[in-house]
Point group: C2
Chain length 480, copies 2
């Protein structure tokens, strides 16, 4: 395919993409396929000779679409949102064409510099303390990670490296392995599975702190565990607070936890993967209070801020903490400016070496929406969640299982877990809408997350009618 054909096929693809997104609600949100469906639809081996583009293109509808879960359908209410916007897609086209690998400043200065400035823009939108901004001479700064899982892992590893150096400075005789064997990290018992997984990867002990009746970690709960652990000779070094947990969008009490972590010299990382986007609205910004105590902070614009995956924004107060943890300097990656202190080589900030020009997506989206447009988008989703909450509350058969703060509603039929499992199964089997469950205090709960950019009040109303209807059917079948 040469540039001339790309001009033609690219324009066709632009129309296909626009058609797909404009008509997405006509597609069944969750596919009917069984495991292994795809293998029999295509050849067992790659073709020897080139095929025509027509043949490839027509297979999108034949092979791919029947097996797609349509995350951008207004009938998709599962997991959390993943962003999708036209400006982000345009920026990604440009990113693909430039196709630079921005591991160092020299590998493509624009790639590094736009990222640093975009993370400052975003940090200012969130009203992050100045410590976290790169500015022109700050000690902090931001970076785009692929996912929140990677951000948590990076923070954990940086904290591990820092505490080891700190202890060895006082006790040069203690080996790294010995120190690591004594370390202990903490998170909420509601934290995302990726936090526990980060502990596994880093070979580190990770404990879950029990939450209160709002699914929030409180200061006294952490303090209690710290005292117990210090008494047995363990070394607490890391706490991952969650703002907006995955099960119920609960918020750890960072204003209580932060001062404890600071006093005890424990690295506090804040994971606000989903909720973070909302903090650009003044009315939700108080949810981030206590950020001033954190060493690192992360959220995913690729969830709820209209920047397509992957774009997970992370800031650190002291970038030397993160860089120092993994710095490697082979000759083939050296460049003239790196010792000047003026440049950022983002390869030291992340697990992979290579990285795409992802900040273009932020730049396009923020400029095309403006801060006001982004705030309006967040508020609309929160409004839709509140609307759904009202519908649930108005129905005596149901209960709300957790405070509705942002775009997630946790609800269930009053009754057994089995009853709710059956209801969810019927909802998903009907294929009209798609939801996933969670467990809260031993209860099986349905999660209704407002996800798609195109979700409107009518979709929420329709979803509720459908759920309510399936619930009626189910309840009628039960013996009284």
């Amino acid at each position: 395919m040469d540039a001339a054909e790309f001009r033609r096929r690219g324009k066709e693809m632009v129309d296909y993409v626009a058609d797909y997104l404009e008509n997405i609600e006509k597609r069944q949100v969750y596919p009917d396929v069984e495991p292994g469906y795809l293998r029999s639809l295509i050849p067992e081996e790659a073709p020897e000779e080139a095929e025509s583009y027509e043949d490839v293109f027509k297979d999108i509808e034949r092979v791919i679409m029947p097996g797609v879960t349509h995350w951008h359908s207004p009938y998709f209410y599962a997991y959390f949102p993943t962003a999708n916007s036209f400006p982000a897609m345009l920026a990604d086209m440009l990113c693909g064409a430039i196709g630079c690998i921005g591991f160092s400043w020299a590998a493509s200065p624009a790639c590094t510099e736009l990222e640093t400035v975009m993370l400052d823009w975003l940090g200012k939108m969130l009203k992050l303390p100045e410590d976290f901004l790169a500015g022109t001479e700050g000690r902090g700064g931001g970076v785009i990670q692929g996912t929140a899982s990677e951000a948590t892992l990076i923070a954990l590893l940086a904290a591990r490296s820092k505490i080891v150096k700190l202890i060895q400075a006082d006790h040069p005789d203690r080996s790294e392995t010995h120190i690591i064997s004594k370390l202990v990290a903490y998170s909420s018992d509601q934290a995302h599975s990726s936090v526990e997984r980060a502990g596994l990867i880093g070979g580190l002990r990770m404990k879950k702190i029990p939450t209160d009746n709002k699914f929030s970690v409180r200061g006294d709960a952490l303090q209690k565990v710290l005292e117990e652990d210090r008494a047995t000779g363990l070394i607490p070094f890391f706490f991952c607070a969650t703002l907006g947990t995955t099960p119920s969008c609960a918020f750890d009490c960072v204003t209580e936890l932060g001062p404890i972590c600071n006093a005890e010299k424990i690295w506090m990382h804040i994971d606000a993967a989903y909720a973070g986007s909302a903090f650009i609205c003044p009315e939700f910004r108080p949810l981030l209070n206590g950020i001033e105590f954190a060493d690192s902070f992360n959220f995913n614009p690729h969830k709820w801020l209209l920047v397509n995956f992957d774009c997970s924004a992370m800031w650190v107060k002291n970038r030397s903490d993160i860089i120092g943890a993994f710095k490697m300097e082979p000759l083939y990656l050296k460049h003239d400016h790196q010792e000047s202190g003026l440049v950022t080589d983002y390869r030291h900030w992340q697990i992979p070496l290579g990285r795409r020009f992802r900040s273009l997506k932020i730049w396009f989206v923020f400029r095309m929406y403006g801060l006001k447009g982004l705030q309006a988008y967040i508020r609309k989703h929160v409004g839709l969640a509140k609307e759904f909450e009202s519908l649930v509350r108005a129905d005596q058969r149901f209960e709300i299982s957790a405070d509705v703060v942002l775009g997630l509603v946790c609800f269930r039929l009053k009754g057994s877990n089995e009853l709710n499992e059956t209801l969810l199964k019927r909802i998903n089997n009907a294929r009209k809408i798609h939801l996933v469950p969670c467990q809260l205090a031993g209860k099986f709960v349905l999660r209704f997350a407002v996800c798609a950019r195109t979700t409107e009040s009518r979709h929420v109303q329709e979803a509720w009618c459908h759920i309510s209807h399936l619930a009626s059917e189910l309840l009628q079948e039960l013996p009284h």
Copy 2:
């Protein structure tokens, strides 16, 4: 921006991308900017109100392009290639539109299934042993990682988890920390910096095995270190072999190393990040001999197989090894089919949770080029490297520093390191072509890597004329 405007702007962007790539050689390959150039060109904060697309678009040339290192210019010979092709860009547009997050089968069955089948296609193209293919009931299988760094880390962590379980099965009293403190992993002293970094991340001892005069690890060198380490009570558990090292594209002697690793129950991972693409050609496939001894294998189609970044292909012989290392099953990620044994939940195979629909790129590229087209592409680049090698060899002032096997030529002026450093500085300062150096056996060496899809013989000739001219100037300045 609504769908109607996206149709218009998307088509303009397709033309911009085509124009950029068609005319890329007219742009200066390496930018003139100084660190910090970009910040002053754009506002300090995101706009409150939405801007027009025209304003954003015109800033591409004003703000971004002056700071881009043009990796796809035919005058770019630095690092290793990164792929860029029209079919891959079309597939990425589709990937962005579908915008699913394929962490589990249910999250978008097509995303998981196409990936499994594409990795089988690619495995067959490389003539990998059947053990590595997923087939319909195999124990092995492939996965797309973001980068080779992540693949190495995943392999290392899977090996760590496996050895710990194995030792604890015989000695239930030994703690994980105690076992880990005795473990030792190995790689070539020519291995990529990411291998050493993986050891740092996993908190694992990592040793470098000395290479022979071809920069290759041989069996006896590994055997010697293993004996020494076992004698001091260490537990060897992982060896990362490199096929196509970053400094000089050297090949570890896997046919000698593999049997040793198998006999000693050491996990052998093969990192062929750059060279792997060439193994689709029968004449280069012997370089992969010994793969049958490996537990895991990885290379980057996003380097040299025309699939845009990121697409790092990894295979394991026994997928339970990799899945078992990190499996986490929160309720919100469970789905009906996951216990059936028929589905793959790729989140267990990787560091991040989220993942894009990257296999679309492979599918489009392999079908639009065909195996023959891809082989021709590899052969063309190898031919251009050989052409450059001949030019260097014909000039008595220069020497070739390592065997030219694929698309990389390592060369230098006969003389001091300082002389060569000066030559490289002048080459890069002239901005006509872009190269990076490496160090081989204490010598400062220039690397000429054939990178761009559009590089032709005339560009290589021109590059050589330029280098030769700058060398003449430099040598004339020297006192005799």
